[in-house]
């Protein structure tokens, strides 16, 4: 029972940290309608930024996180301006491949220039687990989960502000947003910048958990499962689906891995994607696409 509880709690917290990665994808999809497959690499890039500012420039960790936020916001704006804006009106495969190309490119650039060996990122979180009853809770995951919930709450609130309302309008329809004077380009740029910021949060936390190297970009896969399950354009869906993906991805491997010899987590993630797409393609909270001939 304690084993199950431990899997459950740590799975839920890991799931919340997946949500942190997935949040960036949803933020962009919600306004631009672009599935950002480069989010994994953006998480990796922000972890590298933080590492550069602390280890190479010797700045305190929170200053470097702040600098990374600025850098990633700028990166998001630039990616939108230089790459995605030229792809407006192209078929979806082109846009998917473009973001995937960006992912591959960054996966080469980060480790290529900074060294492929994993680097440690110290957020000052003590390593000793918190013990509640019989359950060991990893402090990194706990803080990650809290940050995820806070950021998701903030983005929910953000969509009620003036800029957020504009973003919602843009997500509804580009042409009618233009006609009422909303700058669609700027709105989409801002959403890319915000995705960059959420990537910094994910990069800092995941970087401190598993070290900074290219494997951070592999977080893309669970994040995709989260956004597909929760619905590509739903922020609350990210929270719920993150919990589900995290718990299933921790409890099932916890019992099945010893039998089949490991690696079940990816299988669970794949099955979640497949079943969601077969049963309810738009996800739990997503908006169903209606197509006209």
């Amino acid at each position: 029972m304690a084993y199950f509880l431990e899997l459950l709690v740590n799975g839920a917290l890991t799931g919340l940290m997946y949500s942190l990665v997935a949040l960036g994808i949803v933020l962009i999809y919600k306004s631009a309608g672009v599935p950002n497959l480069a989010q994994g690499a953006m998480v990796m890039l922000s972890a590298y930024f933080i590492w550069m500012f602390t280890a190479m420039a010797g700045m305190p960790i929170f200053v470097s996180i702040g600098l990374a936020v600025v850098a990633m916001f700028a990166f998001g704006l630039l990616a939108e301006r230089l790459l995605l804006r030229k792809m407006v009106g192209q078929p979806i495969i082109m846009i998917v491949m473009l973001t995937l190309g960006l992912e591959i490119f960054l996966r080469g650039v980060g480790p290529g220039f900074l060294g492929a060996a994993p680097k440690s990122l110290d957020l000052g979180i003590p390593l000793t687990p918190i013990i509640v009853g019989d359950v060991f809770i990893n402090r990194d995951y706990l803080i990650g989960g809290i940050v995820a919930v806070v950021l998701i709450g903030l983005s929910l609130l953000f969509f009620r502000t003036r800029i957020g309302t504009k973003l919602r309008a843009v997500s509804d329809d580009h042409v009618s947003s233009w006609s009422v004077g909303i700058s669609v380009e700027r709105a989409i740029g801002i959403s890319w910048g915000l995705a960059g910021i959420s990537a910094v949060a994910a990069g800092a936390l995941w970087g401190s958990v598993q070290g900074v190297d290219w494997t951070l970009s592999a977080l893309l896969f669970p994040a995709i499962a989260v956004v597909i399950l929760g619905g590509l354009d739903s922020i609350i869906g990210v929270l719920v689906a993150g919990l589900i993906v995290g718990i299933l991805g921790s409890v099932i491997p916890g019992y099945v891995d010893p039998i089949v010899g490991g690696g079940t987590r990816n299988v669970v993630t794949s099955l979640i994607i497949l079943f969601t797409i077969m049963l309810r393609p738009h996800g739990i909270f997503g908006r169903e696409d209606i197509e006209r001939v």
Partner: protein
């Protein structure tokens, strides 16, 4: 110039509908075929086995994928898994003592059936969701291959290909293997070229352009999507088997990982969606460009023109890849095939030229 159209009169439908109605295209194809057939005579073994042969097999694989992605418009991000199914099936059939010909057909059929199962599951959706579903297929197939010892021969195992004969020719030695790969590439090329001009191909194009509209004019879009998955997975499975037998001569799960799927999609996109010559150009470009860049950088580093760490050198292929995909999508979305087409069109009207752009 040599693409002269004057004097070429098609007086019967057959001549107008042939694969290459313009004589210049025809003799170019014959020259290319002659060059390919004679390659073992004038090419060093190293180039033959490590450049020509993989290029041909990857082109065949890219052609199978372009049939699905370019002609039928169904996105597939797990094509390496299809090839893996083909490779593993063929190797197990051949090791069980069956003839190689049956192993190849078995590879194709198994890949087609499994591909179709996933296709049928995924065909309720399209576009982005289809990408995700096929991505999930890639991970599932990888996991099954690695974790079922009966397939992979145990974790981290490498299965050697047994010695086989194809149509009474023993598949040993560089030349035989090369001709095997060439034969397969020619078969796939002719098949895809012909599919594109039959009613089947036109139905696929109709489904690609708008599946609802296709069903309104009486094309059963689900059936044709499934047929596209079947045909393309069959060709992909056999390509995987040919790749295993002719090039690697062994199979490991890592040869068909997720990045290989991306590589295949990159070949199709860089070459040009739905184009046959594009598949060849794209495969060559994607295979050779990173090698060329790495060698060029290494050369520059040896000459002392710039300092490159070995770590950076190891990551150049990845960067080149990403940059290639991004660059082509931004500046030539129709790929290398479009560049070829532009050059050809220039010569079609030479010495005149198109005005405008």
């Amino acid at each position: 110039m040599f693409y002269r159209l004057s004097g070429v009169h098609h007086t019967r439908y057959e001549t107008a509908r042939q694969l290459w109605p313009i004589p210049a295209d025809r003799w170019q194809v014959w020259i290319l075929l002659a060059l390919a057939l004679g390659a073992p005579l004038y090419m060093a073994d190293l180039y033959l086995t490590s450049y020509m042969l993989p290029w041909l097999v990857w082109s065949a694989a890219a052609l199978s994928l372009t049939l699905l992605m370019g002609v039928a418009g169904q996105l597939h991000f797990g094509f390496a898994a299809v090839m893996a199914i083909g490779a593993y099936t063929s190797i197990h059939i051949a090791r069980a003592g069956w003839p190689f010909e049956i192993a190849l057909i078995g590879a194709g059929l198994t890949a087609a059936v499994i591909g179709c199962v996933f296709g049928a599951a995924a065909l309720r959706v399209k576009g982005l969701y289809l990408v995700m579903a096929t991505l999930a297929m890639q991970y599932l197939v990888d996991w099954v291959i690695i974790n079922v010892p009966a397939i992979s021969g145990g974790a981290q195992a490498t299965l050697q290909t047994p010695d086989v004969t194809f149509l009474f020719v023993p598949m040993q030695g560089d030349t035989a293997l090369y001709y095997g790969a060439l034969l397969w590439a020619v078969i796939v090329t002719v098949l895809v070229l012909n599919i594109k001009r039959t009613s089947f191909g036109r139905a696929l194009v109709a489904v690609r352009d708008k599946d609802y509209a296709a069903s309104i004019i009486g094309v059963n879009s689900f059936k044709y999507k499934l047929l596209a998955f079947f045909t393309s997975s069959f060709l992909g499975g056999v390509s995987g088997a040919v790749l295993a037998f002719c090039y690697y001569q062994a199979v490991t799960p890592e040869q068909f990982g997720f990045n290989v799927s991306i590589q295949l999609v990159a070949m199709v996109l860089v070459g040009g969606l739905g184009s046959v010559i594009g598949a060849y150009l794209g495969a060559g470009f994607v295979l050779l460009a990173p090698i060329f860049l790495t060698n060029a950088m290494a050369y520059a580093a040896i000459q002392g023109w710039l300092t490159v760490s070995s770590n950076l050198l190891a990551h150049i292929p990845l960067m080149a890849y990403g940059a290639l995909i991004i660059g082509f999508l931004l500046f030539e979305p129709l790929g290398l095939a479009k560049i070829y087409d532009n050059i050809r069109k220039y010569f079609l009207v030479w010495p005149f030229r198109h005005s405008g752009s």
